[in-house]
């Protein structure tokens, strides 16, 4: 469970997040809102990559900070940029992160297959189309089956078939106690399997609903 208490993030004169109080239960929460509503900022704070101006985010009572190695082992994050090394192949990228997370090579093959990346496994990440980069980023973020999965626009630049693959990976990832936040403009896709939704506007939560897990599409 993730608890967000009085979270505020200010960049200069711009208030990105304002007095956000949330409790995110295990399951997938879709994060929706227009451009500049604070979706990406919220995900960066929850990943521990951005120190909030005020307030805090807690994972099972412990602060969510990237400086904490145990927390880093539990989080998977794919931001706006794919976070891949352009001159390594897709397989080499995943193998590198598998080594860093202490994951066996079998997971790399699973991740490649799950996102339809096998034909592109030997392609340099920098030579991939935007859609394939996005798929590879999701593969990288979910490679170590993290307890907290944070995906920022995972459906960007994806065709319908690829979007289905991403949804399938997220649905397979779900498990006891795991929390995912999926920020997207494509609310319809995420609502099909999400157990909760959060709508942000101007850095404030204008709606936060949690469905019982049984209500969520399995």
């Amino acid at each position: 469970m993730i608890t967000v208490e009085g979270l505020q993030v200010v960049f200069g004169r711009t208030v990105a997040l304002s007095s956000l109080d949330l409790t995110l239960q295990p399951g997938v929460t879709g994060v929706f809102g227009p451009n500049g509503s604070g979706k990406s900022t919220l995900l960066r704070v929850l990943a521990g990559l951005l120190e909030p101006t005020a307030g805090r985010a807690l994972l099972e009572g412990a602060p969510m900070r990237a400086s904490d190695e145990r927390f880093r082992a539990r989080v998977g994050y794919a931001g706006h940029q794919p976070g891949l090394y352009a001159r390594l192949t897709v397989r080499e990228n995943l193998e590198l992160f598998a080594t860093l997370h202490g994951v066996g090579a079998g997971r790399v093959d699973e991740a490649l297959e799950g996102l339809g990346l096998v034909p592109h496994a030997g392609t340099h990440a920098g030579a991939l189309s935007a859609g394939f980069k996005r798929r590879a980023a999701v593969a990288r973020a979910s490679l170590h089956e993290p307890d907290v999965l944070l995906l920022d626009e995972p459906y960007a630049n994806l065709d319908d078939d690829a979007a289905e693959l991403v949804s399938a990976v997220i649905m397979r990832w779900r498990g006891q106690g795991r929390v995912a936040l999926v920020a997207t403009h494509g609310a319809k896709r995420v609502k099909a399997y999400a157990s909760g939704s959060l709508i942000l506007q101007g850095g404030r939560a204008v709606s936060h609903r949690a469905r019982a897990p049984a209500e969520a599409t399995t």
Partner: protein, 261 residues
Amino acid sequence: MTAGLGTAGQRRAKGAGRRDRRGDPSRGWLAKTAALARKDLIVEARGRDTLPPMMAFALTVTVLLAFTLPDGARVDAQVGSSAGSAPIADVLAGFLWVTVLFAGLIGFARTFEVERDEGAIDVLLLAPLDRSGIYLAKAVANSVFILGVQAVLLPAFAVLFSVRLGLGLVGVVILADVGLVAIGTLFASLAAQTRSRELLLPLLAFPALVPVFIAAVELTSDLFSGSRLDTVASRGWFGILIAFDIVFSVIGALAFEYVVE
């Protein structure tokens, strides 16, 4: 096969299988560090963005310096004016280390460039690896680059200035490189977070590098002028170099975490 393991064996096998899927991030600091260093070297081998500019700079400067010395100058000669003179060995040692220093800065400035592409810095910082591992991996890659430059630069000095290259000089080079890389990598990580990193890096690194630079020049000058290694060692500069290497390496590994946060 699993049945033969018994209940405890099955539990262990099941646990191992789970680790294979979910990972055991606390293990393998060295393997993770080696994987990161290997990544940087592969990226450089494919892109050749760092080493060729460093080498080109070092060789160009060396050739230009060759034109500034008197014709037929030898390492035991003196250069200077009526106000004073210096053995040419001192001048060449200074040339060598100034060239290495500036070539090194070209490489250090690019330390985190590979992470800037495609936003890989965020995911690198989220890897469950002690920050000292990232620092060491970057330092190893920088060491390979600077040694690569010296592998070309030292023979060029031997050809252009008739200096003798021996094992003593190799020892000085390796010891000096440890200090240069330890400081260069640390300040590169600091400068990488700013827009004016190419300007900031020398401003930060030069003052800290002065002790290593002076020790390296003194030792190299003695060796260029033909002093025996035991005579050179007795002057104490080796001790100073080793002491600064240890201090800078420890400070770099400890401070890196706070610099990247």
